[in-house]
């Protein structure tokens, strides 16, 4: 488990060891969705907003 800071609120975000670049994690403090941009060291940014053609 790795910890880093939320870019929105500064709260602590815990990342599982099997976290993947491109994965979305929720900040448990403020609820914002964050995207993992880099794994080592972890770099987070706000996740992209929902686009109209997302889905399956």
């Amino acid at each position: 488990m790795t910890e880093t800071d939320c870019v929105e609120c500064g709260g602590t975000v815990a990342l599982h060891d099997d976290s993947e670049v491109g994965e979305i994690v929720d900040c448990e403090t403020c609820g914002v969705e964050l995207e993992l941009l880099e794994a080592e060291p972890p770099v987070l940014d706000r996740a992209p907003e929902l686009e109209e053609d997302w889905g399956e």
């Binding site: 993947e20 491109g22 053609d53 997302w54 889905g55 399956e56």
Partner: protein
């Protein structure tokens, strides 16, 4: 022998994590390609002719924050197969086409992606193949769309031609609602919203069915139940394993074949069962019908998904879905598995 697998993505969902874990556990080399950071060259613009450093130099006047981009042709060159897991339909349609242009096998192939990405194309493909699908009319003007709506009567359904997760779907209960929704769609801006896809409302027994198909073989299925008329898992529907009868399996296979086959999610609704009827009654009706020799379909196929999500299915069924998918990938792309992986397709049991 391991396989080099490219995974096109823009977001790693739990579905992609399940696949990545299964592929890596079996010793395959996986190259994740974030399509947001990638450019796709046409002809000589790609491959060795592309130099990200040159691009950076040419744009240096605009500032130092120009990021380098990966060249898709180079990134895909070493891949034995590419798996399209793009979240955005537009990216999926184009990136699979580029993979094909670069002579890299891609799952699903671009023709399948194109058909599945557009509900009009899907409906036409299903109808051409004789697969039962809800009656549909397409119009390009609000007046003719209203005529189409009135021809079905109320309720009927208005769907976007491109879209997922039940978004922008409208169940029209009367003329006033129809007029309002059509006017709103006409002013949304994008031309696709002016393609009015009107469909009969199918009264289903509070659930629909999702079937995962590999190639043209149904491999797992679940029901999605809820009080809302939309029963997508994304809408909060409850999921449960569903045992396909012969007719449902046959239709799922036929629907998959109609769109070109591949790794697909086929959605079916049961017909001839009262809306929101007790699920047990629906199952009993199905059992009774199994005993009949009548050929009339008890199902209708309303959707085929080409970048199918399967995490809910994996949770609902005993079968290990990502293992089954990787089994199929290995079988269809000539790979041999090492001693640590590979499963008998018919004996796979989930470890929960």
């Amino acid at each position: 022998m391991s396989v080099e697998i490219g995974l096109l993505y823009s977001r790693i969902r739990r579905d992609e994590k399940l696949l990545l874990s299964e592929l890596r556990d079996r010793g395959h080399d996986v190259q994740k390609i974030d399509v947001r950071d990638t450019t796709f060259g046409v002809g000589a613009a790609g491959g060795e002719g592309f130099d990200a450093d040159d691009t950076e130099n040419e744009t240096s006047d605009a500032g130092d924050d120009t990021e380098e981009a990966t060249d898709a042709m180079s990134a895909l060159a070493g891949c034995d197969v590419v798996l399209d897991r793009c979240l955005a339909t537009s990216r999926s349609v184009y990136t699979t086409r580029f993979a094909e242009a670069y002579d890299v096998p891609v799952v699903n192939d671009p023709a399948t992606a194109r058909v599945c990405a557009d509900k009009v194309e899907t409906s036409l493909a299903l109808a051409d193949a004789g697969v039962p699908t809800p009656e549909t009319r397409v119009a390009f003007d609000t007046e003719s769309a209203l005529a189409a709506v009135e021809s079905f009567g109320y309720p009927c359904v208005l769907k976007p031609v491109v879209g997922s997760w039940g978004r922008l779907m409208a169940k029209l209960e009367g003329r006033a609602a129809a007029e309002a929704v059509l006017e709103h769609k006409a002013t949304l801006g994008h031309y696709e919203h002016k393609v009015f896809y009107v469909q009969q409302f199918v009264a289903k027994p509070g659930r629909d069915l999702r079937v995962l198909v590999c190639g043209t073989e149904p491999v797992a299925a679940m029901s999605r139940s809820g009080d809302h008329w939309l029963t997508n898992a994304k809408q909060g529907a409850e999921t449960a394993a569903f045992e396909l009868d012969d007719r449902a399996a046959e239709l799922a296979a036929a629907a998959a074949e109609a769109v070109g086959g591949g790794l697909l999610g086929v959605d079916l609704m049961e017909v001839g069962v009262a809306e929101n009827a007790d699920i047990a009654d629906a199952d009993a009706d199905a059992a009774d019908a199994d005993a009949d020799t009548e050929t009339e379909s008890r199902y209708t196929v309303h959707e085929v998904n080409h970048t199918v999500e399967f995490k809910s299915l994996n949770d609902a069924v005993d079968r290990d879905v990502p293992a089954t998918v990787v089994d199929w990938l290995e079988a269809t792309h000539g790979a041999e598995t090492d001693d640590t992986g590979g499963t008998d397709d018919t004996e796979q049991v989930i470890a929960e």
